[in-house]
Point group: C2
Chain length 203, copies 2
DNA sequence: CGATTTATTTATCGGTCGATACAGAAAGGT
DNA sequence: ACCTTTCTGTATCGACCGATAAATAAATCG
């Protein structure tokens, strides 16, 4: 059951990784085929044979990002001892992820709100889903805590999630604008100062 | 001292306004000349004669945005009775500005961090300056308050400004992703819950 | 009135975009 | 060996990009 035909001369995963870094940095429309083929070290026909199209490649790089770069948040949220620690880990982890030397600043999924202009409606939906998923993870973690009675039943879980998602997305922009890790960590700590107020029982 | 030559058949200000809406919505690279000329109701040579180039037009639309759309914040900050009210007005005003029916969602200046890919280094600097200016306005308002003794001298003014700027920029992304005005206003109120903690005197 | 100046329309420029046709090269199957 | 299959490099496709040259139209100036 060995492979038929001439074997590929490049590493598919490595090429995909390099494409991801480009799309992450410059967005979909902002990255040209010639930049892609140059960075991936292959010619256009090899790219099309291997990945299908520019958009299919983009979607695959986004999946790779979800799996390896933006990932780990689900586990971190679950591992935290309580909801407050989970949110803090989410923000502080984001501050670190958004400012890794040698990697584009900010979150590829968050920035795709703007950077994915030009992709098909189908792909845009997929991206919207990926962003909503993160929001869903946060809400789920908070609801789990509320279920344990650790949060007042009357507090607005989705509003809390919405607030911290917004802060994290703002951190993506700040990172792109040159903010340092220390600045983002200070922002994260600032956002945690709203925790008591947000989780206080409502009328 | 009347005008020489054939008079222009279109309203320059109106054409600029239409170009602004396009750039605001789709960014610099994402807006093509043919889209611009179609929306402005003129042919390409008229555009070049009147505005110089696509980039010069973009920069002029950004100036227009600064003056008429994003403006009013300086005055609002100054008019507020105290620093807390100023910050709250800034965030609540942003929530309103980012979700005006018939206008693109979010802030053109904030989104330019990502949407201005492709412009010259000179224009990019100008945009960075425009973003820093807003941050400077916030800091100045806070320092004025600290000078009056209404804020502890030990609290970190630039960190407070950085936090609220980050929230506001996050609101721009959320608006682009479809967030409603009510959601953004809730986020703004959430951010104000951090105020007491942020302005408490430090060790 | 011509002469000058400026704006408009039409047609098009060279360049780059994303995407492919084609022929040659390198593997397995028989 | 030969055929089939798959990948590779070259060379290029039509479409659109941002930007203009040239000819025409509409105003003021002398």
């Amino acid at each position: 059951m060995a492979e038929r035909g001439r074997p590929r001369t490049f590493d598919r995963g490595e090429a995909l990784h390099r494409a991801m870094l480009l799309f992450w940095e410059k967005g979909y429309q902002g990255t040209s085929m010639s930049e892609l083929t140059a960075a991936m070290g292959i010619n256009a026909p090899s790219l099309y044979a291997c990945f299908g199209s520019k958009e299919a490649l983009y979607r695959e790089t986004m999946a790779l990002y979800d799996d390896y770069e933006g990932g780990g948040f689900g586990a971190a949220l679950a591992a935290a001892p309580d909801a407050r620690a989970a949110i803090e880990a989410y923000l502080m982890g984001s501050a670190r992820l958004f400012t890794r030397p040698g990697k584009p600043a900010g979150c590829m999924v968050v920035l795709s709100v703007i950077q994915a202009a030009g992709v098909s409606e189908e792909a845009a939906c997929e991206l919207r889903g990926a962003r909503a998923e993160m929001s869903g993870l946060l809400e789920a973690r908070l609801r789990a805590e509320a279920g344990k009675g650790a949060l007042p039943a009357s507090c607005d879980i989705s509003a809390i999630a919405s607030f911290y998602i917004t802060v994290q997305q703002g951190m993506s922009i700040r990172a792109r604008d040159g903010a340092t890790r220390a600045e983002l960590e200070a922002v994260a700590q600032g956002a945690m100062l709203a925790w008591d107020g947000l989780t206080r029982a409502r009328a």
